[in-house]
Amino acid sequence: MCVGVPAKVIEKQEFSALVDVMGSRTTVGIIFVPEVEVGEYVIVHAGQAMSIIDEEYAKESVEEWRKLTDARTS
């Protein structure tokens, strides 16, 4: 439905932020995530940050995969 890309917030203005996607940089709207802070990651869709990525949850997901994985590679 929608291309969405993780991007790191580099600079923040009132309604927009400069973000970095593996070195490529662009300015996105932050109307939907006004609380975002520099250093955080957001999901960008059509020039807008739609959501802040929660690092804790991201870690948990990876750990979950590792558990499933470990059961099979060890």
Binding site: M1, C2, V3, V5, A7, D20, V21, M22, G23, S24, R25, T26, T27, V44, H45, A46, G47
Partner: protein, 333 residues
């Protein structure tokens, strides 16, 4: 001299004469402009390669080069990948009324520099001027003549197991230029890979006996060029997705706008297909050159009956790659 190109610079009269004298003849080092219009020469051997390309890039200056550098490198590379030693170049300019003469000078100087670097001589030229709105700055055609010495020509004979090598990261040119255009508001800190590859590629041909084919994956990118090779020579080629070198920044920009690096243009890369037993030697040679420092073995020829290009994903699945179908457009889905 005037600041901008006018139609009169292209009408063959006094202004054309001055433009040619002060911009082209000076940069390309001819001592009379008659030589600039047509050229008689004696070539060392009778086996030659000829190629032509028109360059229409926007913007004309971009990180890593300009249309001038590109016009020389692009044609030099077309000769080099065919195994020929580039010797002569002609250039034809179509310039838009109003184009800054200082920009033209910079472009012509880039051409002269790149020509000198690659050892080619610019032997003939032409300039036409079109009305404002009938071109986008400047278009350059270069036609190159190279010679075949010492049986350097790639064999075009393939066998199963032949290794597919790319001389470096893909997509740099297309992405650098797209970003420089500024329309998408995305900046990418990379340079176009625009470079002449003749020294490196001819070195490979000298050292390795049986290079199968070399090609520069320009418009249409790596995938389109390999599809063409696969089809033209009825090969099954399998690429290993994770071994294809792509810069992070290129990957990032592609993710943002929904592009695929496999289809992005390169201007300083070559695909080499070589016998499996020589692949390490070829890699060794490529890695010695700055233009080849990111070279990688990215796949192999697995069959010589059907013309198809396959991509093996990290999961081990294989999928068919086709030519670029229509233009890539930034998308949201």
């Amino acid at each position: 001299m005037e600041k901008r190109i006018s139609l009169a610079h292209g009408d063959g009269g006094e202004l054309s004469h001055r433009l040619i004298k002060s911009v082209f003849v000076e940069a390309f080092g001819h001592n009379n402009e008659a030589m600039f219009d047509a050229s008689a020469l004696t070539i060392p051997v009778r086996d030659i390669a000829v190629t032509t390309d028109s360059f229409v890039i926007k913007p004309v200056f971009f990180p890593g080069g300009s249309i001038g550098k590109l016009a020389v490198a692009g044609t030099v590379n077309d000769l080099a990948v065919s195994g020929a030693k580039p010797l002569y170049l002609t250039c034809g300019f179509v310039i838009e009324e109003g184009f800054e003469i200082s920009d033209l000078r910079a472009i012509v100087s880039d051409m002269a520099k790149e020509a000198k670097k690659t050892g080619v001589t610019i032997i003939a030229g032409d300039t036409k001027v079109v009305e404002r709105g009938s071109a986008d700055g400047v278009y350059i055609n270069t036609t190159g003549i190279g010679i075949y010495e010492n049986g350097r020509k790639p064999s075009l004979q393939f066998t199963e197991g032949d290794a597919v090598i790319i001389s470096g990261t893909i997509g740099d040119h297309g992405i650098a230029v797209l970003a420089e255009r500024g329309e998408l508001g995305i900046s990418v800190p990379i340079d176009s890979d625009c470079a002449s590859l003749n020294t490196m590629l001819l070195k490979v041909c000298e050292e390795i006996d049986d290079v199968r084919i070399m090609r520069d994956p320009t418009r249409g990118g790596l995938a389109t060029t390999l599809v063409e090779i696969a089809e033209d020579f009825s090969l099954t080629i399998v690429l290993n997705e994770s071994s294809i070198p792509v810069r992070e920044e290129v990957h990032g920009m592609c993710e943002l706008i929904g592009f695929d690096p496999l289809y992005i243009a390169n201007e300083g890369k070559a695909i080499l297909i070589v016998p499996n037993e020589h692949k390490d030697k070829v890699m060794e040679i490529l890695l010695q050159f700055p233009e080849g420092k990111d070279a990688a073995v990215i796949g192999e020829v697995t069959g010589t009956e059907k013309g198809q290009l396959l991509l093996e994903t990290p999961l081990g699945s294989k999928r068919l790659l086709t030519r670029l179908a229509g233009m890539m457009l930034p998308r949201i889905c």
